[in-house]
Structure formats: C-alpha cells, structure tokens
Symmetry: C2
Subunit: 231 residues, 2 copies
DNA sequence: AAAATAAGTTAGTTGAACCTAACTTATCAT
DNA sequence: ATGATAAGTTAGGTTCAACTAACTTATTTT
C-alpha cells in the first residue's frame, strides 16, 4: 500500500475544508459576506460547528472574518475554492459525457470524488471530453489556472412578459428538480419566451419548444438566462 | 449542496476500515493469519494503532482475532474487502484503458478514489472498458457479486532452469519497480524462459522477447507466473 | 531453562470535525 | 429606546483514527 495523501507544496486541504470554501464562494457570489447560518445550512451542519471552523480558516489565511459579520474568501481561499469547484464540475461533465450519467445523478458522485481526484486526473478527464466550458447544469468550469468567467445572467423570474431568452444555467441542488426541468425542456441552451407573468410572485408561463409551461416563481428564480430580446 | 454520504442498508465503512480489510485480505492470502506488525507495515502506521483497530473490527464482526495471534477475515469482512479490491482494480484498469495512465501511476490514484466511488460508478467504468478480468498488473478483479477466482501461480523465482512460463501478475507496490519491469518487458502476458539460476538466492537470468535479462531474487519472487513447460 | 529478542497490547494524548446547551451580540419592531 | 427575535459564539463533550511510552506475552537462542 502507499501513503494516503500525495505530498504537495501547498499543504493539502481536508475534504471538509474544501467544502467550507466552496460554500463560502457560492454564498459570496451574491455580493455579501457568507453568514455563519447560511454556511451551516448549505453544509447541513450546526451553526456552532461553523463558528469553530471559520475561526480556523481565518487563522490559516483562507478567509477573513469579522466576528458576527460573516466570512469572505482571501485570494488564497478563492484560489482553493476554484480548484475544488473545477474538480467538481469537470467530474460532473465527465460522468455525463463519458459514462452515460444523467444530469440529475452526477452531483452526489462528484461531491465525493472531488476530494479524492488528483489534478492530473481532472485534466485528463477534461481533455477526454474536449475541454468543456460548463458542467451539465450550465455552470462554468474554472480554468486550470484558477480563473473563471461568469456570464452575465438573470433569473428567468425577472424577465418581463414577451421577452425571449436562452437558458444558461440551472441550480443542481435537487435531483428531483433537475428531473422535472429536463421533462419541461428547460435545459442549458433551450430558448424560452415569457408569455405571462402572474402577479404577487405567481407562476410565469413560458413557451419552450413550442410547448406552453407554467413555472412557479421560486423555481423560476433558480433558472438563469441571458436575454435575447425584450419583446 | 447535498449530504456527504449516501444512505445504505449496510452501514458505510470508513476509508481507514476499508484499508485495514484490504491489507488483512492480502496478508491472509499466504495462508496464515494477518499479524499486527504486518498490517502496520502495509498501512504505514504504528503497531499500537493496529491493535486498537483490530479490536474494533473484531467487535464489529468483520474479523476474528485471538490476542497475540493475528487477525482473520470473517465472511462479512471478506465480502467487504473484495468490494474495495474490486473498486481499486476496476479504477486502475479504467485509468489505463480509458484515460491513458501508465501502469506505474494508477495505484496511488486508485487508492484514494476507491473510497469515494459508488458501486454504480465502478460498474459503469467496468462496462466502458469491456469488463476486464484483471487490472493492469494482472491482479484478478472480483466480480460484482464478490467472488474472485485466483489463478494458480508461482513466483518466477521458483522455476527451475530451462522452464518456460507466462507472466501472470506483478506486484504493484512500487511505481519505480513497475517502470523497471516494463522496461525489461516483464508484463502480464509476456513469455519468459529461465536460462540460469544463480545459487544462494542469486539473480536468475531469463529470456524475454529474445533479450537476455538478469533479475534479482527478491524481484523474481514478486513476479507471478504460470508454468508452460518444464524444459 | 533462562535470557534475549521480537511481537503485541494497554494507557494516555492529540487533532480534526462534529455535536448540544447556554450565553452574547446584533437587528428589528413597536 | 427598549424589549423581542434572530444570528453568532463559547464551553464542554463525543467519535474516529492516529500517536508515543511503557508494559506484557511469545518465540528464539544459547
């Protein structure tokens, strides 16, 4: 048998630490610092546990943390987060492209493999499927160098009636939701036209592939699109 | 994000536990019970740590253990060990067949991935490369059902002068050794003829691919072959 | 058979990553 | 501005899987 972890210049981060950094990265995308409770919810652990880890991550220079006011990634923390995110998304893409997984089954598998896969494996996987730019849910894959170009997207829910848009990305949090979206035809690349927008956060009615579909406000907030035309 | 571990009927075994079972399985192949020190050496941990874990595994019914006299897998332990070994070997085979890894680089990667890959992933990998019967080093891959047919093999070192044999399997413990063996042409499937056998555990001289090679006794003990003819 | 050596175990620690319960700080509503 | 609620933290505890040091049992040598 051989040593459990390969030696590295940068000290290896543990699986849990990688998970925290990913969560913080994700929460920070909305602009504000990642709050303790939000991190806890995302990782399904107790807020008290987050307090402890956040202190540690700050001490290690991966995040900055002002007590009672959330966490923000430092440059080093962001780099580490993007590396893990790259792994996750390349694995997701590889599982669908090379091994026939459906898009609603890849998340959990990737969640475990991302902590065990070497950079070399990730690069080989990416090359084998033609260096895709996004994962199966439309999320962009960070480059090998750790840069990421986020497209300017808006939630489908925010479009006015009559607008046409291309689906760019959907949330991969729930397998069930992904199956439902696939059934509706709401997948990255699909074109949707907003027909009707019920008031008071009601459902919106859209045309997808010549079919009329009603989508709840909550769900429509998770579908990210790029607008094609206002009318 | 989603839960860290999938739920299962059989309680999940931790990575370390899987490593212990694999090590014990391997050591037991030689007939005798797996000794504490041997396990410790294989896993590169202190013997004292093994004592503790062995007690736990026995309590869990995965091994039997008589104090001071080594450990043996129970049926349940053997099943678990073979599952992990199947994962390891399928991953090794997949990495070489599908992703272009050389046979000396697959072990470490598999060592980490085997604890994170789901049964479904392993089955998909195996199918993708045509359900191979062995890993790149010639070690047999346990079936999905947990059975394993070990070929009747002998160490190259045990062959008499003049004998011809087919290389079946080599030890994958050291990447360096594997590179050396590849260079010699000593790979599973190759035919070797013993030309000379130096006394006092000296090197043996063999013919491989029309080339004459001297191989140290120690190394020749790790090369497993099936005899083709005595003369 | 006694002494030397090797193998194995026990006791006590450590560090990571989680937990609950109790407390403190911040924010919001009146 | 004061009290209620929400958010965050501290304190203390658990489990896992490793460690070292000291001790016990088994095996081998003389």
């Amino acid at each position: 048998m051989s040593p459990a972890r390969t030696l590295k210049v940068v000290p290896e981060l543990s699986g849990p630490v990688e998970d925290y950094l990913k969560a913080i990265y994700d929460l920070e995308r909305s602009g504000e610092a990642a709050e303790t409770n939000a991190i806890a919810k995302r990782l399904r652990i107790a807020p008290a546990s987050v307090s402890g880890m956040v202190r540690r991550l700050a001490r290690q220079g991966l995040i900055t943390h002002e007590r009672y006011h959330g966490a923000r990634l430092t440059a080093a923390g962001r780099r580490a987060a993007l590396k893990t995110i790259r792994r996750h998304r390349v694995i997701e893409a590889y599982l669908t492209e090379a091994l026939g997984y459906s898009w609603d089954r890849v998340h959990d598998e990737a969640e475990r493999l991302e902590h065990a896969a070497s950079d070399e494996l990730i690069d080989r996987m990416a090359k084998a499927i033609g260096e895709p730019e996004t994962d199966p849910h439309g999320a962009p894959i960070p480059s090998r160098e750790g840069t990421l170009k986020e497209k300017a997207v808006v939630p489908l829910a925010s479009l006015p009636e009559g607008a046409t848009a291309r689906v760019e990305r959907v949330s991969d949090e729930s397998a069930e939701r992904l199956r439902y979206l696939a059934q509706l035809g709401v997948v990255p690349g699909a074109t949707v036209k907003v027909l009707e927008h019920a008031p008071f956060d009601g459902p919106i009615t859209v045309k997808v592939d010549a079919a009329k579909r009603a989508i709840g406000a909550e769900l429509a907030g998770q579908i990210l699109v790029v607008g094609l035309s206002r009318k």
